[in-house]
Structures are given as C-alpha cells and as structure tokens.
C-alpha cells in the first residue's frame, strides 16, 4: 500500500507502534508492516523523517544507545504522545463506527 494512502493517519500509526515500548526506526517500520498484515509497507527511509517530526512535536522522545557496536536511536512515547494516541484512537473509533454503519450493508470493499 502506498504511503499516500496513509496520509493523515501515519502519525497515529507511528505512535501506536511505540505504545508497547521503545523501538528504533527500522523496528517501527517493521511493526507497521507486521501489524497491518503486510499492507503498510512504507519505504523505511521515509519513516525516519516522520519520527523526527513527531519528536520535535514533543510526542515522542529519541535517545541514543550503542547496540552491536553501532549507535542506535530509539524512540519512546512522551506523556503528550500517549495522550495524542488516546485521542486518535477515540476519533478513529468514532469515525469507523459511523462509516461501518453507513456502509455496513454493502460488501466491503465495494464491488463495481
């Protein structure tokens, strides 16, 4: 699935991958891919800028460590990030409930 499809949802999805604990960039990307059953397979290189943006927004915090002799940057949710994730989850639940109610009778995805 192309990155454009996730536009508007990427931040929430990235925050969700960090809900269980800290991850580095590639682990975040893999969590997105695995958690979506392989549907959200973004170019790894574009996940990192999104993480940087979330960090500057104060939603996640990055820290360096040394793993296998390499410096690695891992990210964890901040309290603001956890609140933002909760809000996103509520908003999505509301939205998906409404859409399901409207499209519930029709086969999904819609048939031509």
């Amino acid at each position: 699935m192309r990155a454009e499809v996730l536009k508007g949802h990427l931040d929430a999805l990235l925050l969700a991958t960090l809900a269980a604990g800290p991850r580095h960039g590639y682990a975040v990307k893999e969590a997105l891919r695995a958690g979506s059953g392989g549907r959200f397979d973004l170019p790894t290189g574009t996940v990192y800028p999104a993480l940087h943006r979330l960090e500057r927004a104060g939603l996640i915090r990055g820290s360096w460590s040394v793993v296998n002799g390499r410096r690695r940057r891992s990210y964890r949710l901040t309290p603001s990030g956890r609140r933002a994730l909760d809000q996103e989850r509520s908003a999505w639940q509301e939205f998906s409930t409404a859409v399901t109610a409207l499209l519930g009778g029709a086969p999904w995805p819609a048939q031509a």
């Binding site: 790894t44 990192y48 800028p49 500057r56 296998n68």
Partner: protein
C-alpha cells in the same frame, strides 16, 4: 526492545560499501546544520545495516540482502527531501537563537562606542552619513518580530499549534528576514563608522569603536552565511 533482526549485522564489505554509497547519496542532498545532518546519517546507517541483517537472516545472499535493504529504504532523493522540513526548522531556530544571543552584545558595544564619542550628533541635527541611522532602527523593527516568530513557532508554541515540521517554510522565511535585517543593520552601522573615521573629526575613543565594528563585522558575516543556509534549506521544501 521490540524489533526484528536484533542480532546485529554481519554484512560483508560489498554490503558496507553499498550502504556507504547510499548514505553518501542521501547526505549529499541534506541541507541544514552539520550536527543534525550527521545524526540523521548515523541513524540511517544503523537502520540500513539492521535491514540488511534482517534480509541475511531470512536467507538472502549478501548481494541480495544489500539490494533488498537499499530498495526497502527508498530513493535517496526522496528520503533526503522528507527530512527537509525538519532540517529547515532546526536551521531556522539555530539562526534565530544565534541572532538573539548576539544582538544585545553587538548593541551594547555600539552604545558604549556612541557614548564615548558623543554619537550621534543630535544637537546639531543629523547630516551626512548619520541620515541613514533610522535604517538601523527600521532593520531592528523588522528583525525583532521575525526573530520572535521564529523562536516561538519552532518551540513550545509551535508544538501547541501543531506547526512543527508541517509549516517549516514559516520559520525558515522568518529566519531569513531576521538574518537579512541584521546584516542591513550591521552594514549600516559599519558604513556610518567608516564615514566618521574618514572625517577630520574622527572618533575620540577608538577602542570601543574598534570593538563594536569588529563585533558587527563578525555578526554580519555569520548572519549572511546563516541566511544563505536558511535559504538553501527553504529551497528544499516542496
């Protein structure tokens, strides 16, 4: 910590060379403060080597794993462009804080020089080169709000408004405006000082004038370079 391929990378020389070439291609297209660019490159290196190790663990040959890892990361130009807004914000904030820190020092140096030499000659009406003095004031009127805006939107206020990384062109533009205004102010002060030095009634106290002129010259040079860098990062924003 969650994540696949955590056992580390035991890639061969071909893999490391390919990773190095990929990172060099990304780095060549990154603009912004050197420490920020270095940190990005280092983070990407770890990610690439981790990706490569994951593909090796899945049974790929070194060549296949290298090609797969690089393909998975995406086009270097796309990756570098995606960092553009973040780097533009970092650059703008760095420039604004530098100007903010240097402003009072340079201003104080000129105030001391003016006090020692009885400048400007208010009592005899401004004439000659002194007529451009209001240009300094005008430059400050432009620079101060631009600085304040840059620092505000790249800090907590920007976070609260959700501007961070999304409207990077705003702080980048504001930092450019502040930088240019600062250069104008410094060059104007230097021109007036040079005009005074060339007149028969040169300054009485040379030391404070030399200090102020040196400070302004240094600041104008650094502000000019920083403004060019801000323009470069701003140009990468799409």
């Amino acid at each position: 910590m969650a994540g696949p391929g955590m056992s580390g990378c035991e890639c061969d020389e071909v893999g490391r060379d390919a990773v190095g070439a990929y990172l060099a291609a990304v780095a060549a297209q990154l603009t912004g403060p050197a420490p920020a660019r270095a940190a990005i490159t280092e983070e990407l290196r770890d990610g690439l080597l981790e990706t490569l190790a994951t593909h090796r663990a899945r049974g790929c040959t070194p060549q296949e794993a290298t090609e797969a890892a690089i393909a998975e990361f995406g086009d270097p130009a796309t990756v570098a462009a995606a960092f553009g807004p973040e780097l533009a914000v970092v650059q703008a904030r760095r420039v604004a804080l530098g100007l903010l820190a240097s402003g009072p020092l340079v201003g104080l140096a000129w105030l001391v020089a003016a006090a020692v030499n009885g400048w400007p000659p208010w009592r005899h009406q401004l004439a000659g080169l002194w007529l451009v003095l209001p240009l300094v004031g005008l430059a400050l009127v432009v620079a101060c709000p631009a600085l304040g805006l840059t620092i505000a939107v790249t800090g907590r206020l920007g976070r609260r408004l959700g501007w961070v990384g999304r409207r990077a062109s705003l702080p980048a533009t504001a930092a450019v405006v502040a930088g240019l205004a600062t250069v104008v102010a410094d060059l104007t002060l230097l021109a007036m000082m040079a005009g005074q030095a060339l007149t028969a009634s040169g300054p009485d106290g040379w030391a404070p004038v030399a200090i102020a002129a040196g400070a302004s010259l240094t600041r104008a040079t650094l502000a000019g370079r920083a403004t060019r860098r801000c323009l470069a990062t701003r140009a990468t924003l799409t």
